[in-house]
Symmetry: C2
């Protein structure tokens, strides 16, 4: 049997693919804007303070920008921390065919690399699109068996996107790119038992860091297996029980996975989104009678209860993985942004009462972006709302204006209204910018005091 | 069913265990000496140059000693690089019940930590023993099914040893230690398809780095699952198909795994060692007639061909995983040290001719440390040598003098004879030293120029 040549094919694609139309370039900008918004939103998270404090205690250098902060940090930890903060609100984008969160690993790697290597906005956008393609293609081979077993897809596959994007910018040869994939593969990890803790959000950061490190090592001559994807005891064979490695390259170069990206309107597990859509729609119609509701039925895809079955969340983080909390917040608050996922809001007695009324029902025929929410009133009446496509998914996307509003809701708090708008404008015109590093500088605050010298 | 409380039990043990007899302390010193020797031996490896160059390009800081070098590096990469160089010769110690190489992850983490945190030799030795216990106990649950599937045990389990040792020094609470294990677990990885490349040796380095980082993050308040070992979608459930988690704590505190350590007399895959023993023994008796040998039969444990079946190695690294090369080098050279695993020696025509005469035969009843080697002469005569216990294993250990000779063979090349002896003496008296950092300083050369300023 001829061994499939998957690793080399993906490496060759990453190094040489050169056709990008306006649509995909625009999608890459939307990804960057969304990544920046959620990173700025996450930049004040306690976990960011801890990573910075830890880095400080290590006497690390101050080469790279930390988004939304006035500290700087070494390049690899910049990739880590920017990836962490871009995921910690559970508000980042999702590729639903692989369940990889594509922007945090790739944009965080590119942003960190820009501190030591100059490249322009167009190069950054193209590298991002390539990284997106590689990580989601490698991820989709494993999804969903792999994810069900307990690997966190972004931790497992995100690093390849970071390696592909950083490696392309660094001008790796095809063979060096194969090695970068090898190094990344042997660093790939991420357990779903970390959901609900800070350690979940370290996965996309770690993916950004290890992919970037793999590309840098490969550039400098470090050796690795050239065929890690298809190899005996390689990435797939070791991590998966059933898989078809060919899926990673089917149709490679004929389209772009970035066109299947989903952007989150709510800062919580993506599978809860169609339920929140339904809850908000019903609230808009029946707000006046909301206290008369006896039972709230939610009809959902099986994965919803697999991932978000936490009935009694105690922290904001846990709330993001509780479809009960998400549905209740949709009914009571009419929104599910970061404010709905504070520890305080999750422990609110009124909200807890509504949570108890939620009754889930699995519908095997539903897609992950589909749901039906019903309110059963005490007087016996029942009203339902069916959601065919969750807001933010491919068939019901956020408009550019909605994306900028989401971004700005977080960015303005950190950067101020004027700087937030300026940064958004720079992102929309990223293909015309001379250096990505110039844009990164606008993402920090203050004079960028080195860590430990505040 | 009551959930087994494995993670907490191991964390509690790591934090509180306080009885160490002279025998285990002495074993810990032997481990340190061996680790130092192989690290010094590996310190001139090309891969070390590449990691240093890469770190330099990142503008990293110069806080910590790099063993055998005059450069310094940041603390986390000191753990990485010291772990890398201590494994790259495939000359480091092995715990045969788990196939974890125990010293590189734990000593590399402790040595890096000593750059920013002061602790004495006795504390270091005790922390090492604890780290050894934890990583091998966690590893043995997975070995051998897990290893067969393709995970590199040291990459998968070594980080827990590093976390336990560093966490103990940092004074973690039991709960913080559980979190340190959680962070380490979600970083655990390492593919056997990397064998024969530099990426294999990054596994113990990465284990040292991630365990140390996990302990530091946990100390600073980072959150993680508290039950990662026994959790649904935790470390074992995700990475293993069959396992008994209880094995990790059976007899905990009643003895020490360090007493089952094996030290390598040869710088190659440990399963080849009984074959090399047999080859060297036969060479000693039949050197004069060695050209008359027609066939060399090697009777071996099944794992030997699973791990080291490479018939035609092309590089020194590949030679370490070729039982053909190892047996041939034993027959021709009467030794299997670093000199037998250069690219040049592996490509030597005379050695290649001897390699072709090797005929392996699997014996299912053999242990990994057992073998029988036979020379079949052209005249029809056949002589055999049976090895019940490979040199360096528990029942046939290296003496202290043999260990120091192994250490010195590498250390004197880097440090010079006098400094090598002084350092060995410091290690033998480690329990009386005030600061581990003082000893680490003796392991570098020159004035320790910061990376990039040479």
């Amino acid at each position: 049997m001829v061994k499939p040549d998957i690793t080399r094919k993906l490496a060759q694609y990453a190094v040489t693919h050169n056709e990008f139309n306006d649509t995909v370039i625009h999608e890459a900008k939307r990804c960057m804007l969304d990544w920046l918004g959620v990173a700025l939103g996450g930049s004040t998270h306690e976990g960011v303070d801890i990573i910075l404090k830890t880095s400080n205690s290590l006497g690390n250098s101050q080469a790279a920008t930390v988004i939304g902060r006035n500290e700087k940090i070494d390049v690899l930890h910049a990739a880590l921390i920017n990836g962490f903060m871009a995921h910690v609100l559970d508000y980042d984008d999702t590729h639903l065919d692989s369940f990889v969160h594509p922007s945090p690993p790739v944009w965080s790697a590119l942003s960190a690399l820009s501190a030591i290597h100059q490249f322009n906005g167009k190069e950054a956008l193209e590298a991002f699109i390539i990284g997106f393609e590689v990580e989601t293609r490698i991820g989709r081979v494993l999804f969903r068996k792999h994810d069900e077993r307990g690997f966190h897809m972004t931790g497992m596959a995100g690093g390849f996107g970071a390696a592909a994007a950083a490696g392309r910018i660094l001008g790796l040869s095809v063979e060096q790119m194969q090695k970068a994939f090898g190094i990344t593969a042997t660093y790939a990890s991420g357990l779903r038992s970390m959901f609900g803790t800070m350690s979940k959000s370290i996965h996309p950061g770690k993916a950004a860091m290890s992919g970037l490190y793999g590309a840098l090592l490969a550039k400098n001559g470090f050796t690795s297996a050239l065929d890690v994807l298809e190899a005996r005891r390689g990435y797939y064979e070791v991590n998966a029980t059933e898989f078809d490695v060919i899926e990673a390259v089917e149709g490679l170069g004929e389209g772009f996975e970035i066109l299947k990206n989903s952007v989150k309107p709510y800062s919580c597990g993506v599978v809860t989104h169609p339920i929140i859509d339904g809850a908000i729609a019903l609230r808009q119609q029946y707000e006046a009678n909301i206290n008369e509701v006896d039972i709230i039925e939610i009809e959902v895809h099986p994965m919803v209860l697999d991932v978000t079955a936490k009935e009694n969340p105690l922290t904001g983080l846990e709330g993001k993985f509780s479809v009960y909390h998400c549905a209740a917040a949709g009914i009571l608050d009419g929104e599910c942004g970061p404010n709905q996922f504070t520890d305080e809001r999750v422990r609110n007695p009124e909200l807890i009462e509504v949570r108890k009324k939620i009754v889930p029902k699995i519908n095997e025929h539903f897609k992950t972006y589909e749901s039906k929410v019903s309110l059963c009133f005490k007087n016996g009446e029942k009203v339902s709302h069916y959601v065919p496509f969750a807001k933010g998914t491919v068939d019901n996307p956020l408009s550019d204006a909605e994306m900028e509003a989401k971004y700005n809701s977080m960015a303005k708090i950190i950067l101020g209204e004027a700087k937030s708008k300026e940064l958004a404008s720079l992102v929309w015109n990223l293909d015309e910018s001379t250096f990505l590093s110039e844009i990164l500088k606008k993402c920090s605050i203050g004079d960028c005091v080195p860590v430990g010298e505040e």
